[in-house]
Amino acid sequence: MTPTEGFAALLSEFLIDASERISRIEDALLRLAATESAKQRPLLDVAKRELHTIKGNSGMMGLTELQQLAHTMEDALADADPGAVDVEGLLKQLDGFREQLRLAAVGPAEFGKQPAPAGPVGETETSHDIAGGSVRVPFATLDALIDLLAEVVMLRHRLADAILRGRMLAAGGDTATRSAQAWAEVRFAYEALGGTLALVQDGILRLRMVPLSTLFGALNRLVYDEAVKGGKEVRLDTSGGDTPLDKALLELASDALGHLVRNAVIHGVERREDRVAAGKPRVGRIRLVASVTADEVQIEVADDGAGINREALRRRAVERGIDVEALDDVFSVLFLPGFSTRAEADLSAGRGVGLSAVQDAVHRRGGRIELTSVQGQGTSYRLHLPLSVSIARALLLRVDDEVYALPLTAVVESRQLRPGDQHIVNGAGVLKWRDRVISLLDLGRSFGTAAALRDEGYVVVVEAAGKHRGLLVDKISGIQEIVVKGLDPIVGNPAGISGSTIVGDGRPILILDARTLVELEPFVGTPA
């Protein structure tokens, strides 16, 4: 299957277009399955029209297999009687279509390129980025940015003029009033410029964002497939679809939400008979609600199903030799690798391995998952992801002569450390904090800039992967928004560091990685 001569350059546009149309057809079919026959006609028409266009376009591109598939599906839909539509069969045909698109994408034009390796959950996105992924940006968005840019240029001139005027007035041995006026103008122009630059920054970072609704089609399909497989009736209600998600996190969010939604259908929602017997509506309901705060995106997946039986879970954990008492909450057992409350043969949910792998992947990218459940009523997962992988608000920390940036999302609390606050236990520094004892990490000692442990300064308590640690520093210089840059691969993966950034005076500084810092062995005694 080779594209028509001359049209090959349009292949990626064709693939994107076809893929979007297929999603629309899938959406129409899924809706069809939940609609009464009298109202099905418009949905069938939507599907037919999209198929017709795909047929025409694939034919033009010379992709005859695709054209044929579209033709077959078009015929199947034309013959379909409302009320008796074989949704499952049609969805399978769509899957076949998607497979063909995938093959067309890696076809002759891409000969020699390796397909992205199937890494652990959420990993493959990076390889896509390296291969040069892209985002769609509406012209209106670009135009708005260009308008802002024009304003920046104008304000910069204004600032330059005001500074010049101020200088001239000062040179002319001017009165205090006129000079003050001039400097007020400088200040005004500077602030206006700052404000507009903030808007430009915001606008540019938004270019990386895609709406969460991008994932809803696939999640709807997932719910449908698993419900059919499990002989259940389940409905997925979504809201917050226009919540922005950094494109780099799209795949992670897709994998994580896929697992959580799948868990909800398979383990959460009960079978029809059981639901009715419990006085619940026959159709199980999964709510997906998304929202955004200053630093993160929160997505909740809540089912109205059976909830988790704490006692059964505790018993199972004890059976497996897990020290349940040491855990904050028995539910965290569910995030341990290989754990499952069902028979190991439950292949659909990946034998309970899923949650552990998902949580690891989420932690790796700076997010977390919370779980709450009420037996008999339902279970709710809450996924937290950083809003942007490119920019973050960070605490600037001074240790010896170095400045480091620590993303605020990891910070729980900071307080002064006075001599005597810290205790040495088993050779390591510890501190009484809230009603527990946390171990301290002297950053100067760990990073080799100091020979001795400091006994005063500030402690910044961080949390990552459920663990807490106190970072010992000399000073906290403030909060700043930083643009995150990864480290040059040549540097490798130094423990405790996740990237670098440039601060106001043009100096590059390192960004601390809370996730590895909570695991680091404190250096005590003579360094290696």
């Binding site: 001359g6 349009l10 029209r49 017709h52 025409g56 376009n57 034919g59 010379g62 054209q67």
Partner: protein
């Protein structure tokens, strides 16, 4: 002499394919106009009454290509425009209906750039001959 060609198709990809195809057209210089539906098409024609050729997709939501064709043929100002109906189907009945409604030719998808060029040549040549007659 530059020929004005209006493409009417609701698929942006198809519009791009026409664009790529016509870039290789050598017989005349072509100025391409685009419309995504019948209403936009008629409004573009009102702005460009000197349009020479319309490549009109039959299967469009809202106003069908056939309907657009009828309105074009009913409009005195558009009388000299040649209309080619484009369809993904090879239906005999549709072709007949289209030609009876005044289409100059019928183009069935898929077509190659070369096939498009030949068709445009034929249609424009025929039109010019007809127009030169008293």
């Amino acid at each position: 002499m530059t020929k004005k060609v209006l493409i009417v198709d609701d698929s942006i990809l198809m519009q791009r394919l026409y664009d790529v195809s016509l870039k290789g057209y050598r017989t005349h210089q072509v100025q391409m106009l685009l419309a995504s539906d019948g209403r936009e098409a008629l409004s573009k024609l009102a702005e460009h009454p000197d349009t020479d050729l319309i490549l009109l997709d039959i299967h469009m939501p809202e106003m069908s290509g056939l309907e657009v064709l009828r309105q074009v043929k009913n409009e005195k100002a558009f009388r000299n425009m040649a209309v080619v109906l484009v369809s993904a189907e090879d239906e005999e009945a549709d072709i007949q209906r289209g030609l009876e409604a005044g289409a100059s030719a019928y183009l069935v998808k898929p077509f190659t750039p070369g096939e498009l060029h030949q068709l445009v040549d034929r249609v424009l040549a025929h039109r010019d001959t007809v127009r030169d007659q008293p």
